[in-house]
Amino acid sequence: MIELARHAVESTVAAGAGDAEAYASEDAGREVRAHGGAVESLTAATRRGIGVRAWIGKRAGYAYGTDLSGAGIRELAARAAETARIADEDEFAGPPKAPVRLMDPTGPKGAPERAGALDLSDGSIGEWGVDRIADLALGVERAAIEADARVAGVEQAVYADSAERIAIASSAGVEAEYERTSCYGYTQALAEGEGARETGLGFGLGRGPAALDPEEIGREAAARATEMIGAGKPSSRGCPVVLDATVAASFVALIGRALGADAVQRGRSPFAELAGKAVADEAFVVHDDGLDPEGPDSSPVDSEGTPRCRLPLIEDGTLRTFLYDTYTARRAGTVSTGSASRGGYRSQPSVGASNLLVATGQLDLEGLLAEAGDGVLVTDVAGLHSGVNPVTGVFSVGASGLAIRGGETAEPLREFTIASDLVSMLKAVRATGSAARWVPFGGSVHTPPLLIGEMTVAGS
């Protein structure tokens, strides 16, 4: 892979670029979808491609392709150079300078030891054949149905895995290559009762199938679906709100996006003017850690080859730092935090969080509910992509969950909205739960449930 990346860099320079960077990736993936006790579909796929950034003077361009033959690379290189010529000059454009050579077998001087020790591959993917992963998906469905008589079925039970290899090279001396495996399983259970149908999601993730517990995934889906039977609307009011870990994670992912320096520099983040200022209650602490051994988004280097690290983002109630890639760091006169991310070879790198980890507190979920007294436990939110203003952080999103009465969960609730803005919400955090989990919705987040002192709930 690294040879291919180097070759693409050389070709792009030969095509007229002053500097070039290539990101090559290859992955093999499988997916099983089960329904009604049978395998609905079985997919096997390989994907290979390369994306090239080209710089001509202060102009930057990008091209990607899947034709990795000599002629294909030459054509790709020519397109990359051509796109750079279309762009306007930008004084901060340019390739990242190579900070370390992670391929050096003696270990890069000063590079974090954690990066060297990072093992992102799980051999169980290769060992589990198609029959075994199909059994896993079927097991998830079975567990959901057997968990509760009111579960009428599942929409689908899915298992998917992938093993990928990524190589990054640049004319400025960056060279990095690593492998990573990942897998997940989920199902959406359908429960029936009181003349209505409810759905509930159960999911699990890990580096290999051995890390997934089909029973647990199925039971979670069943529990989430059945607990919603008979749901009604809450009355509209301001009250304490507990966000369960999956909901908290969705909000934390949004906060991670708003802390990207790109949004900040372009005046499109609610945190733009708040560096070093109070943005949260002291109970809420969040780090970005691209080297967490269990993190779904961990990697030794970011997607432009800069080493990952652990960064405090919000600590002691204060906004400590934004996330920077090379471009935004230059623009701010600082250094990259190793926060360049990309969706694959088809997209250019941009600033993004890796794994966001929210610090746990003292209280378990029951403790948080007791602390809330009377309010709402939110177990699902919808419409986050349309209900949040990314510039101001003002949001109003659809929600469902359970009423909290006398410090305990009571009747199920649906069809209501919760509204606030991101900074007000963080300042209103009263406590964080003691048990955190990984949630992959809209980012990679490890968080416990959160108790928010007050939020607007709009129902009937």
Binding site: G65, A87, V130, Q188, S386, T417
Partner: protein, 461 residues
């Protein structure tokens, strides 16, 4: 027919796919090329050129779909993919029928975007930037983007079908930010079609003024109301409400799994008699149109609701066979890397009798949702939520002050039945719809529509 796959190669691939048995095999080939660029801070940036080619092979056997895909269109790779798809099948081989090529007329493209110099595209973005910023000194930021893509596809299957399509789409979008003291508001607008660059030659820059105008208007916004009230939905992108709350529930895969509130309701009165709606993949040059779907079935106009009665679901090949009906040309896929599933194309509520002004005039106290940022629905429960990007109070039969941060929530069965007026005006807008991890271009449309009562989730109790 295009040159993505030679008929002899297609036959070899299909034969290999059925070597271990199976009722049906298909090879889907695709070659795509695209260009995107953006303007931000009045600077042309994020210029990106993409090219990809590949194929997906599927085999259906005993209710299971076996699928494999590869990058590239090398015949040996396609045969290998067929072998991978069929790897788990060990029955007696089945014989594909001889291929017969279908004649398909692609959507007409007058000016191929790839033949337009890049500088003209950059100039268009500069014009959008200038016109948006000129709308008022309170416009503080503006971003605009241009995207063109051409996708050539070919489909061959063991029933003997060999077909193809050549699809070109262009789309521009503008997002403007307006500021006044502590207040920040955004406004956006898009224009797109299954069309060539000619779409953008007729004053495309007007969308920049429209986007900036929305942001400026919203600077005067107050908090949105909270509670249940009559809601008037705007034309055009207001149709996303129907797309989300009803359209998805009509997709036959959801219906057959009992995961749609419309399951078992064919022929039932699901709306007032004043409402008729269609899914139409044949609207000329419309964003969600294609000449054939991604299984080679010609697209068509399907009436889904007639005078309030549910008349049809939307089918791909697999779900149509299960229901014993003809496919409706709704089998769509994001790319060769995805399996086709039933998807909407251009979905709209047909124009009604009511004058848009009269629809508002009858509301004493309510909410006007002129446009949405997007929405989401759980087809199984029918619960939906929409973010309102441009909303106003209705007081005394008139649209009054703008509102910020409103959300509409409800249940689709109830909300659709509660539509008590459909406007005689009509407009189509473009959208990108996500389902099962796949994004496809869809059109949404309607005139002004009124829902008798709906929950508005604002902050003003």
């Amino acid at each position: 027919m295009n040159e993505l796959i030679e008929p002899e190669v297609a036959e070899r691939v299909l034969r290999r796919a059925l070597a271990g048995g199976g009722e049906f095999a298909e090879v889907f080939c695709e070659r795509g090329a695209g260009l995107t660029l953006a303007i931000d801070e009045s600077r042309i940036e994020s210029v990106q050129s993409g090219a990809s080619a590949g194929a997906g092979v599927r085999v259906l056997s005993g209710g299971t779909t076996y699928f494999a895909h590869v990058d590239g269109l090398d015949p040996d790779d396609l045969v290998r993919a067929a072998g991978e798809a069929a790897a788990a099948l060990h029955a007696e081989s089945a014989e594909p029928r001889p291929l017969r090529a279908e004649a398909v007329e692609p959507q007409p493209i007058a000016l191929r975007p790839a033949e337009v110099p890049a500088e003209r595209k950059a100039e268009l973005l500069r014009e959008l930037d200038a016109r948006g910023r000129d709308a008022g000194p309170e416009i503080s930021e503006l971003t605009a983007s241009y995207a063109e893509v051409r996708r050539e596809i070919a489909v061959a299957n063991s029933d003997g079908l060999l077909s193809g399509d050549d699809r070109t789409r262009v789309r521009i979008g503008v997002q403007a930010v307006a500021r006044r003291e502590g207040e920040v508001q955004t406004g956006s607008e898009t224009l797109g079609g299954h069309r060539g660059f000619e779409l953008l030659e007729d004053d495309a820059g007007a969308i920049a003024e429209a986007a900036a105008g929305k942001a400026l208007t919203l600077l005067d916004a107050g908090p949105a109301p909270a509670g249940s009230m009559p809601v008037v939905i705007g034309g055009g992108f207001g149709g996303v409400l129907f797309h989300e709350m009803t359209g998805h529930g009509l997709e036959a895969d959801h219906v057959q799994k009992g995961a749609s509130v419309y399951a078992g309701k064919l022929g039932a009165q699901v709306a007032q008699p004043l409402l008729t709606a269609y899914d139409d993949g044949r609207m000329p040059n419309e964003w969600g149109s294609d000449s054939i779907d991604d299984e080679g079935i010609p697209t068509r106009k399907t009436m889904v609701i007639e005078d309030g009665r549910l008349t049809s679901f939307l089918y791909d090949r697999l779900t149509a066979a299960r229901d014993g009906v003809a496919p409706t040309g709704n089998g769509r896929r994001e790319s060769f890397r995805h399996l086709p599933v039933p998807r909407m194309t251009n979905t709209y509520i047909a124009p009604g009798d009511a004058e848009p002004e009269a629809i508002v005039a009858e509301v004493e106290k309510g909410f006007y949702a002129a446009s949405f940022a997007g929405g989401q629905v759980d087809p199984a429960t029918g619960d939906f939520v929409f973010g309102v990007s441009e909303g106003y109070l209705i007081e005394g039969g008139r649209v009054t002050r703008p509102c910020r941060g409103a959300t509409l929530i409800g249940n689709c069965l109830e909300a659709l039945l509660a539509i008590d007026a459909v406007g005689s005006d009509f407009e189509m807008k473009t959208g990108i719809c996500g389902k099962a991890g796949q994004k496809v271009p869809v059109g949404t449309g309607q005139g002004h529509v009124r829902v008798r009562a709906m929950t508005v989730g604002g902050t003003e109790l």
